[in-house]
């Protein structure tokens, strides 16, 4: 097929408000409000519900033709009033859309007006987040939201001896894993933002319309007093930079901690900041991971992998699969990002292999590459299932959205312990597909 220059075919990115909503769902008592037409909130809820298999509430200013003509002020004021009265939130995050950005609504000004109308009442913080859907991707929407939360709320009081962790737009299971590691390291932290409970909630005796757990407004305020900020994803580090610039807080951002080396550097950063040694339990986990890598190497070595999804996750998985002796042959992300290119360069240097790097590309591009450079395994979200079927290769589902398999919200990839499961899973997929029932490698025709 000829090359394409214009169309996006089977997108591997979403728009900014989607990332914003995901960040806000990690704030306790927060109601995300999309200032736009109803479809934005509804279709995002649809995607989020079927991935996380949890109820997800996102409100909308329900803009329609008449209101577009006169500007969205009346709708936004009314929406704030409704949310405040009906849902009693601890925070309202107001994200814009392509519609309201284009008509030029000044959300900050409208929110200010709302505050003035209610000057004698105690309102929750209302944070405007500019997320036009025609710029960037959901990755930027997430980043902007974290930054807006800090910018609007953080203020310096007295040092708290904590470390701020910005997780990036990752799964609840990964956030839970990070929290466990921090606990083992005896590190007090503030997690920005933490959806590990709200988007992977136990079945209890109540239903809540707002995230029942997550970072609190007070904790967001307190981020200005921490001793450092660590971003697990390089594309979620605007907040880190802001805190450094504004409050002189040490900042670190590295590879998303998947696999051996990336987890090593994450944990050693914390140890260094906290002045502690690697605890025995983590040391054993690390040892077990290496043991698992040894067990798996005969099967994994030399297997070609294609990985697609969010830039940080793809780069980290590429690094990990390279550690396992696999060949990250094709990597693809929908976002446009120089940092991704840099990351992939360093993975290439480490592993002495040259992956095909698709940046700002879609699944069509990925598929064309796979046709030219056959691979053994595909890693990414559910949308890759058709490629996998057509090319007769297995698909390991990691990323968002995953709607055709269970457990997306419960399967971690961060840290040593999750790394062990990941190695086993990878090797077992390879065994299942490329080895026969008596354990012999099936020879390709």
């Amino acid at each position: 097929m000829p090359n394409k220059h214009f169309a996006v075919i089977n997108p591997s990115k979403m728009c900014q408000p989607m990332g914003a909503v995901q960040a806000l769902l990690g704030v306790r008592g927060a109601m995300p409000l999309i200032h736009g037409s109803q479809g934005c909130s509804t279709y995002m809820r649809f995607q989020l519900c079927r991935h996380f298999r949890e109820p997800v509430n996102v409100s909308s200013t329900s803009m329609s033709e008449g209101t577009v003509v006169y500007g969205g002020e009346a709708n936004l004021l009314k929406a704030l009033e409704t949310i405040w009265n009906e849902y009693k939130p601890e925070l309202i995050g107001v994200t814009s859309s392509c519609l309201t950005e284009t008509i030029g609504d000044d959300m900050g000004l409208i929110i200010h007006k709302f505050r003035q109308e209610h000057h004698d009442e105690e309102l929750p913080p209302i944070v405007p987040i500019s997320t036009p859907s025609y710029a960037g991707s959901h990755v930027d929407g997430y980043d902007k939201t974290i930054k807006s939360l800090i910018e609007n709320l953080a203020y310096s009081t007295k040092p708290n001896d904590k470390i701020n962790i910005i997780t990036g737009n990752v799964s609840p299971a990964d956030i839970r894993e990070v929290k466990e590691i921090l606990e083992l390291l005896d590190c007090e932290s503030i997690i920005l933002t933490d959806n590990s409970e709200s988007l992977d909630a136990p079945h209890t005796d109540s239903v809540s319309f707002l995230p029942s757990e997550g970072i609190t407004v007070d904790e967001i305020r307190d981020t200005a007093n921490s001793k450092a900020t660590l971003s697990l994803c390089k594309h979620a580090d605007s907040g880190v930079k802001f805190l450094e610039k504004r409050f002189d807080i040490k900042s670190i951002s590295g590879f998303f901690p998947v696999g051996l080396q990336s987890t090593d550097s994450f944990i050693s950063s914390i140890c260094e900041l906290n002045g502690c040694e690697l605890p025995v339990k983590l040391e054993k986990e690390r040892g077990r991971l290496i043991d698992a890598m040894v067990d798996a190497h005969p099967y994994n070595y030399g297997r070609k992998v294609a990985i697609y999804g969010d830039p940080d996750v793809v780069a980290a998985l590429a690094r990990f699969t390279a550690e396992l002796g696999m060949i990250p042959a094709i990597v693809c992300t929908g976002a446009k990002s120089n940092r991704f290119l840099d990351d992939m360069k360093s993975v290439a240097e480490e592993s002495c292999s040259l992956p095909v790097v698709l940046e700002g590309c879609d699944l069509y591009d990925l598929h064309q590459q796979i046709k030219e450079n056959p691979i053994d395994l595909l890693i990414g979200n559910s949308y890759g299932a058709r490629i996998a079927k057509e090319e007769n290769i297995p698909l390991l589902r990691i990323g968002f959205p995953i709607y055709d398999r269970l457990g997306a919200q419960r399967i971690p990839i961060v840290g040593y312990k999750a790394g062990i499961s990941l190695v086993d899973t990878l090797a077992n997929i390879i065994l299942e597909k490329y080895y026969d029932e008596s354990g012999h490698e099936i020879e390709s025709e």
């Binding site: 000829p2 394409k4 220059h5 214009f6 169309a7 996006v8 075919i9 089977n10 997108p11 979403m14 728009c15 900014q16 408000p17 989607m18 409000l33 736009g36 037409s37 109803q38 479809g39 934005c40 909130s41 509804t42 279709y43 995002m44 809820r45 995607q47 519900c49 949890e54 109820p55 409100s59 909308s60 200013t61 329900s62 329609s64 033709e65 577009v68 009314k78 704030l80 409704t82 949310i83 009906e86 849902y87 859309s97 392509c98 519609l99 284009t102 008509i103 036009p132 859907s133 025609y134 710029a135 991707s137 079945h203 209890t204 005796d205 109540s206 239903v207 809540s208 319309f209 929908g334």
Partner: protein
């Protein structure tokens, strides 16, 4: 709530859907009631449902929302207020006009569905319809012009034209539908002009769909715009594919309108119709090809399954091509039988009528024995239905046939005519709710404590968290529920939802509390 169904005063163009039913539906030749009644006499014929009197205010909610809920009483047939804008700030279950248009056209299998807008509109909605195909699968691919900042500033027409040409070269599709999104409406790209030009260059049908998301609070307008796109650019343009008109009309033909083949529903309906000796000329739009729809105007009859999305199309085709239409419903045994009957009687062919009776008799006997096991477990259970389309009324009888009671029903985008249908169909004491938001829904479910909820993905997990069994009747449905065969699946799925032992471990049913009350 005294008189008939209320409609908003400022109701929009979408209210075309309110037009009174035209003569054609009166063509419904009277059905041989006694035959059907005989067939349906059953040990558990539906008893009157007894529900405790409901207080004035059904649940705690906003003042402006109170008259969007009502309980059917015998003395007045009034329904809830409807077709008004949702309250800004509420977690609405509604979608947008673009979404409405897309769901109607998306099942056309050999077309490209190109979303002209920023990436989000396409990436949140591609391949979510659940419509199955027996051939082409181009419709499952997600296409976007991916408008970026510079396109918003300088306009997206050039990019759109280039994208259309490129896609035509890549895929050689039977047609390219181009959907307008919110921002395209604002920046004023001339969709029609670009499509017209692109059609000249590509020689492929390029069809504009003016579905700017914000055009109405009611996505029914989107359905209508999708129908307009087919009426203006597709239906009537067919070249018969080498066949002669006489050949096509050699035996009675019909179009199935408003059937989207979700989970394969069409495949349970089509064989029944064909067995009667009627040729299905085209389906609008489930499992359909562009060329079939282009030839749809040659049919003798239209039958309308989803009357929410497609009555408008049938009415327009009647006006333009003089094709009569019948309203049918293939959910439930009785309604499926009735639908087959009225189709056979329309053609006034004694042989066909005989055949229909025969099919009905055999199929019903089969369904009876197949569902008896499930029925025992389902009988007496209360059901709450909350859906986007015609299912708010078309499912009621199907539940009754399983001995279940519909205690609550409602829709997100109901028009007055929809609520008239609902009020006619439901039993006394049934709660009817319009445009319920997520908080209202959960309060209603806790108050009415149904044994089963029928709805879509957005409502599924809230229902589960409340400890209530759930059955998806929307995009994510996994089994065909239409026709006689589908009814067996339907009973099976409902039983699967209700009878799972997992509900023994979720004791909060009937004890649930809602925070933020």
């Amino acid at each position: 709530m005294q008189s008939a169904v209320k409609s908003s005063k400022n109701s929009e163009k979408s209210d075309k859907g309110n037009e009174k039913v035209t003569n054609s539906s009166k063509l419904n030749v009277s059905v041989n009631k006694s035959l059907i009644k005989d067939l349906f006499t059953d040990e558990s014929s539906s008893d009157e449902i007894v529900i405790d009197p409901v207080p004035e205010s059904i649940i705690k909610t906003l003042e402006s929302r109170l008259d969007h809920m009502c309980v059917k009483k015998s003395e007045d047939g009034g329904g809830p207020s409807c077709n008004t804008a949702s309250v800004p700030g509420i977690v609405t279950q509604r979608s947008c006009v673009y979404g409405g248009a897309r769901v109607v056209l998306m099942p056309i299998t050999d077309a490209i569905h190109l979303v002209h807008g920023p990436i989000g509109c396409a990436s949140c909605t591609w391949d979510i319809r659940g419509s199955r195909t027996s051939g082409e699968d181009l419709y499952k691919t997600g296409f976007s012009t991916n408008l970026e900042e510079k396109d918003i500033v300088f306009g997206g027409e050039k990019k759109l034209a280039d994208t259309i040409t490129e896609l035509n070269n890549l895929y050689k599709p039977a047609a390219i539908f181009v959907y307008s999104t919110c921002v395209v409406g604002l920046i004023g790209d001339d969709l029609k002009a670009v499509c017209r030009e692109a059609e000249k260059i590509t020689k492929c049908r390029v069809i504009p769909v003016q579905s700017e998301g914000f055009r109405s609070f009611n996505k029914s307008l989107g359905h209508q715009l999708a129908c307009d796109a087919m009426l203006d650019y597709l239906i009537g343009t067919g070249e018969l594919d080498g066949k002669l008109k006489s050949e096509i009309n050699a035996q009675p033909t019909l179009n199935i309108v408003g059937e989207f083949n979700v989970a394969g529903d069409l495949w349970a309906i089509k064989p029944l119709i064909e067995k009667m000796g009627v040729n299905v000329l085209s389906v609008l739009t489930g499992d359909s090809c562009v060329e079939d729809i282009a030839n749809a105007h040659y049919a003798d009859l239209n039958i309308v399954q989803c009357q929410k999305s497609s009555n408008y199309l049938a009415r327009q085709m009647e006006e333009k091509y003089g094709i009569h239409y019948l309203k049918v419903n293939f959910f439930g045994i009785e309604d499926t039988a009735k639908s087959l009957k009225i189709i056979s009687e329309f053609f006034q062919n004694p042989k066909m009528i005989e055949k229909a009776d025969e099919i009905i008799k055999t199929e019903i006997a089969n369904v009876r024995s197949e569902i008896s096991h499930y029925k025992k477990r389902l009988a007496g259970k209360g059901v709450a239905v909350y859906v986007g389309g015609n299912k708010a009324w078309s499912l009621i009888r199907a539940f009754e046939e399983l001995g279940m009671n519909v205690i609550m029903t409602g829709t997100q985008n109901g028009l007055p005519e929809d609520y008239e249908r609902i009020m006619e169909t439901v039993s006394e004491g049934t709660l009817v709710v319009d445009d319920a938001n997520s908080m209202e829904l959960s309060r209603l479910l806790q108050k009415y404590q149904p044994d089963l909820v029928i709805s879509g993905a957005k409502e599924k997990y809230m229902t589960h968290k409340l400890g209530i069994p759930f059955c998806d009747f929307n995009h994510d449905r996994i089994a065909s529920f239409a026709g006689f065969k589908g009814f067996i699946n339907f009973a099976k799925e409902l039983n699967r939802a209700v009878s799972s032992p997992v509900w023994k471990f979720t004791p909060k049913k009937y004890h649930g509390i809602v925070k933020n009350e």
